[in-house]
Amino acid sequence: MSGKREFLSVTSIVAMGIGTALYAAFNVFFNIFQLPGTQLVALRPSVAIPMFFGFVFGPIVGFVAGFLGNIISDAISWGGFWWNWDVGNGLLGLIPGLTIFLIKKEEMSTSKGLILCSILSIIASIIGMGFAAYTDYIFGYGISTIEEATYALFLPAAITDAVNGAIITPILVAAYSAAVKGRARRA
């Protein structure tokens, strides 16, 4: 395959669709866990899904899974649409995908790869939720001081997502690499 076809190959299109569907299907349930004292921040163990898709299938797949998955789940659970939170969720998937520039593909399921995956999930939570919370402040969507953005949006969202992502994503990666072992073409 030439380099241009790799960008939107059939496999990556399917991976984006499946990742979106999974993230949306789980989020519909978890959107009920609104954290008290925050502004529409939910506790979602499902954040590991875009991180896993980003880590295994590449940054663009991770971004699309997080971005579209969040749009669809918000729309079907309560009809919301906030572009900056959707981009923030996309970043949750994009940043773990950067691992392809850091280690070789064969090393992904070794302990080195899993530790890197955990660290990248934490960085992704901080950057992604930071982006979403502070764009809320910059554009004035509901909050108007930087302390509110930090304590009501950024800290609760980033901490819960970092804990969930750092624990569940490496488990997913390890389970996936064990499941694909011995199958042709799948790694």
């Binding site: 299109i13 669709g17 499946i18 979106t20 999974l22 299907a25 004292g37 529409l40 899904i49």
Partner: protein
Amino acid sequence: MSESRFIKYIEGKSIIHNLDPRAKIIFVFSILFSLTISPSLILIIPLLIISFLFYLLAKLPLKKTITTWKFVLIIVVVLSMLNLLTLSILYKHGGNIIFEFSWFVITDEIIQRAIFPVMKLLSLAIVTITLIFTTPPKLYAPALGQMHVPYKPAYIIQLAFRYIPEYILEMRKTLEAQMARGFKPKGGKNPLAKILSIIPLIVPVTISAALSIYDIADAMELRGFGEKKNHTWYRKLDFNRKDIFLIILSIFIVLIYILSYFYFRFLF
């Protein structure tokens, strides 16, 4: 966990059901854009009325929409209003005092800052759930495709809507399989405990879904997906007079709100 509850399309024959999905999507985005830039509470109210009219015209039965309404009213309106009130009382801003009791002060500024975002959320929620309730999920991708979105991105959305019910079904199957092996999910009628029982399903469902990706991709490649640059859609959508009216209305709303935005910006 019935799968039909989550893709919430309700069949019907109202005006809104018969509109072209493209016109509805344009309308929702025009309301969203106007809400985002509208600078004062007075300008939110007409949008709230328009979106409520849009909902009423769809003639949706209350029996089928009640779960969504409960969610919108309890989570979005009550909880976020309480949260915003706490926030604006904690981080004081000034304004005229309405009620005072030692350190506890309520000003008109606080009330406005608690109500303003909730109004925005409510109006947006009404428009979006009307779109979701009245548009069959299989029409989103053809609509986007015929709005000149390239067909590969449109197909991602098609795939997503195709597989969401599948994975909700898969979750139930996995839970039943685990129960057959002796796993006991907690809570009988407690809804929160029911949702907590989904957490152990994340790993198996995600892995089985990720393993099926290559099979689906192979099946699509065998049928020649992605070979040609052009792609036609099985369902051809046509605008009629009502659709054109709705699009003109959307453009009109957006223009009014852009004008009022600049008016408020430079005069006050």
